[in-house]
Structures are given as structure tokens and as C-alpha cells.
């Protein structure tokens, strides 16, 4: 595809299921993976709810798309930044989130965590380091 490599950040600030943005953001990320760009995802504000484990959508009749996050590593999407302050305000810790890992090809395919808990200031720095920011 393209020779250009840009830094793409997908910013997720909304909760899943109440609106479709979280699901349709994930669809963009999966398609975008084919373009060999430098991809990161940011989860802040209500976006951190997308990663909460044990989601069960049976009663509301809507597809549970949360397992898809665990497949991101296979698409070489391995940087999922999650804001600590957003978690804390929502009464959540890292233990409440799904475990999401990837195999690092530069380190003998060692399994490593994709989720990186960062402070608000660190999140701001991640945002300021991008070429293209897609907001959902």
C-alpha cells in the first residue's frame, strides 16, 4: 500500500452499547490495520468502560463486541493507552479490565500486555505526538 507511515490515534471517550461509536471505532481500527501505519488507541473518560471485563449483552439483544479487543494484537494494534484518572473517577482499577496481550516479534514473540495505564499528563503527551487523530 502506501509508503508513508503516519502516527494514527483512535480516541475513545464513549461507553459501549448506549451508542454505536465504540463498535464503529473498532471497525475502523481493524480495517486501518491493513495500511501499515503506526497505530495507537486512547481510552479516556467513558471510553475506559469499553475495556471492562465480563460484559454480557444477552438480555439486551445486542452483539457483545468486547472480545474483539483481544484480537487486536493479531492486527499489530498493540498500544492501548488507558487514562488512570478516568478509571479512578469511575471506581475502576486495571483489574476490572480485560487482559489484552500481543506477541512481540522483536522479542522472540514474547507475550506482552497491550494495555498501558497512563496518567492524564501522559495521555496528553501521547495525543500531542500524533499525525492523525480520529475521534469517536
Amino acid at each position: 500500500m502506501s509508503e508513508v507511515v503516519k502516527k494514527f490515534l483512535y480516541v475513545n471517550r464513549k461507553a459501549p452499547y448506549g451508542t454505536i461509536y465504540a463498535l464503529e471505532a473498532l471497525e475502523v481500527v481493524l480495517i486501518g490495520a491493513a495500511f501499515d501505519q503506526d497505530v495507537s488507541m486512547a481510552f479516556l473518560d467513558d471510553g475506559v468502560f469499553q475495556l471492562v471485563k465480563d460484559q454480557n449483552t444477552k438480555e439486551i439483544g445486542v452483539k457483545n463486541f468486547s472480545p474483539t479487543f483481544r484480537a487486536l494484537g493479531d492486527y499489530e494494534v498493540t498500544k492501548l493507552y488507558v487514562e488512570a484518572e478516568s478509571l479512578a473517577e469511575r471506581g475502576l482499577t486495571e483489574d476490572d479490565l480485560q487482559e489484552i496481550v500481543y506477541e512481540d516479534e522483536d522479542d522472540d514473540w514474547a507475550e506482552k500486555p497491550s494495555i498501558r495505564i497512563v496518567s492524564r499528563d501522559e495521555m496528553a503527551a501521547v495525543m500531542a505526538d500524533q499525525d492523525v487523530i480520529l475521534s469517536f
Binding site: Y17, G18, T19, I20, I60, G61, V62, K63
Partner: protein
């Protein structure tokens, strides 16, 4: 008891039309009546027959059409909201000089008066929106 239901948001984008559907179904199962559902704002988009949701997802339009048919629910799409958003039946399409229509089976297009009438004639009015 008679429940009137307003659906104010479009399908898939917001959960409102799903919640309204589950509420209507539960009300009917409990022996209540749901004489009419009124689709307003982006809710009018629930009534398009042209949507093709992914195969592993619910079909919101088909769910409403089936529930309406099974229980004789009057599924009314607001004409003013529908015109802005491009939801037409055969009659409206011909009146507006449009070459196609997209309304789904079981829905009908009518005026806002149907919403007020529903408020008058039902015991409870429930709104699902954003």
C-alpha cells in the same frame, strides 16, 4: 393498562429503539396493551426497509415489524421528521416527486397529531431517546 411509546433515536446508533422494543414486548407479555408506537426525530429511520444489519446482529426494523404484526400495534412514523430525513412511503414519494420509497412493512407515515392523541388515549406515555 395502555402504554404509548415514543422512539426518538435512530436504529443501531443509539440503544433507544432497542430498549423501547424490549419494554413493549415485556408490557405485552404482562397483559398490558401497546396500541401505538410513535417514531419521532431520528427514530423515523427505524422504519426503513433498506437496512442490512450484519448477520450476527439483531434486525431492529424486522423486530418492530414482527411485534407490530403479532399484536396489532400501530407503528407511526412522523411525517415532518421523516421528510427531513428521507423516509418515504409510496404516496409521499409520488407527492414529493421522488423516484423511490423506503418504508418497511407494518409502518405508516402520519402527522404529529398521532403523538398527541396517543398521549390522550393511553394511560402511560414512555419516551426512549437520547
Amino acid at each position: 393498562m395502555k402504554f404509548g411509546i415514543v422512539v426518538s433515536e435512530g436504529p443501531y446508533t443509539h440503544q433507544a429503539s432497542d430498549t423501547a422494543y424490549h419494554f413493549a414486548k415485556a408490557a405485552l407479555e404482562a397483559g398490558h396493551e401497546v396500541p401505538r408506537v410513535f417514531f419521532y426525530h431520528d427514530g423515523v429511520n427505524v422504519g426503513t426497509r433498506l437496512s442490512v444489519p450484519p448477520q450476527d446482529e439483531r434486525n431492529i426494523q424486522a423486530n418492530w415489524t414482527a411485534l407490530g404484526k403479532a399484536h396489532g400495534i400501530d407503528l407511526v412514523i412522523c411525517i415532518a421528521a421523516a421528510q427531513r430525513r428521507g423516509l418515504l412511503d409510496e404516496n409521499e414519494a409520488s407527492r414529493q416527486g421522488k423516484d423511490a420509497n423506503n418504508i418497511a412493512e407494518g409502518f405508516r407515515i402520519s402527522g404529529l397529531g398521532q403523538l398527541i392523541e396517543m398521549g390522550i388515549q393511553t394511560d402511560r406515555l414512555m419516551t426512549f431517546g437520547d
